[in-house]
């Protein structure tokens, strides 16, 4: 059996290529949970292939649990892919010890960050800031802290007031028409700063695993900047392709 993952479409047959295109559309959120796919004949015209080829693609997507199809109706997305690019491209944080975690929202508000705006090449320095910390529910020790910064835009300006949709930031952003598509990622090890150490009730200077990510939309617009500090005794990062 040949393992193939989403990223490489090399030397694959047509059904596989089409399946990968559709999978990308689903996982990226362009096609949302419950959406109806184009009919088989529309896909035939779109990809300029025969219907049997399209049907192979759809059956592959069914096998992967991304869609279901009904006779006389069509195919529907059944993938409610939460964190979109997480599975596909991003390095995934694996919790080593599955301790009961307590998530605290430290703040959700509009901030101004000139340094970050400059680094990202943005004109406006206004961001929506979402900071969350996770600590062990058992003994209260530090697990992780996450700083998320979303460039201010009209579609989401009342996010701090209305709160998150279903507690999920990405669901909220998708609601606003923002779909992650590609990005960049840095991983290193840093000493915990005084403020973060305070929040996590750790000693300042403790070594933490840090991931920084810039997520962009299909158009290349910065959608989110996330800095995660992970307690190395709790986390490993994992990725496959």
């Amino acid at each position: 059996m040949v393992r193939r993952s989403a990223s490489s479409a090399i030397a694959a047959g047509k059904p596989e290529k089409i399946a990968q295109i559709l999978e990308t559309e689903i996982r990226s959120g362009r096609l949302a949970h419950g959406d109806q796919l184009q009919s088989e004949n529309e896909l035939v015209r779109r990809f300029a292939v025969s219907r049997s080829t399209v049907r192979k693609s759809l059956s592959e997507l069914t096998r992967r649990g991304l869609i279901t199809t009904s006779v006389g109706i069509g195919s529907f997305v059944t993938f409610d892919g939460n964190v979109v690019a997480d599975e596909a491209g991003w390095t995934k944080a694996l919790e080593k010890a599955g301790a009961n975690a307590l998530t605290r929202t430290l703040r959700l508000e509009i901030v101004e960050d000139r340094a970050l705006a400059e680094k990202l090449g943005l004109e406006s320095a206004e961001f929506i800031a979402l900071d969350r910390a996770r600590t062990s529910a058992d003994d209260g020790h530090a697990i992780s802290i996450e700083h998320s910064r979303i460039p201010m835009m009209p579609e989401i300006e009342n996010l701090p007031v209305k709160g998150l949709r279903d507690g999920s930031l990405h669901a909220t952003l998708r609601e606003a028409g923002l779909h992650p598509d590609h990005g960049e990622e840095w991983i290193d090890v840093v000493a915990l700063g005084a403020d973060d150490a305070e929040i996590l009730s750790c000693q300042p200077g403790a070594m933490f695993l840090r991931t920084r990510r810039v997520i962009r939309t299909r158009e290349g617009r910065v959608m989110e900047h996330i800095t995660s500090l992970l307690n190395p005794t709790h986390f490993a990062l994992h990725r496959e392709f």
Copy 2:
């Protein structure tokens, strides 16, 4: 007696000549990564040779890692310009401080590692082990240490004797017809063991950034397992997609 030189076009048979023409087209970019080659019968007409000759050319290109072929579909370029999966997909180690580094080869030999074989699901526990350490040429402090394990196979059994080709492990493996295609990767932070600390002349227990990678060929066969320990003051990992 005819003198034969492996690399040049002199005194080469038809399959070799055709392979070289196609290789030029691929390396020059006229045929891009993922492109489909002409079918064997088209190549037969183009070069006015028999199909068996064309097939020899294609199998040579396959051995060199430039193409892959699929039954019923055709042959595809898998050469994306430079180093295949190495730079493209993997998290890349970026040296923060560009200090002069000194690379030492700690060992290059055949070893037996039952634990690793079991983890990778391999029958044979024989590996070729290549351990290399990098230290600063200036003050001798630790930069990184890398443990590479390659499952034993006939094509490379005299690697420890013959040494690496151009000092590069991947060039050597490519030579043997082994081409990286996909894999898996773990990143975490660990305390340095006594032996590694000794090699790097560090204090045991120092926190290092660790990446572990399993690289597989297109067929899913394990090609290499690498554990890298990176001094976090020197390294950050970076990736984009």
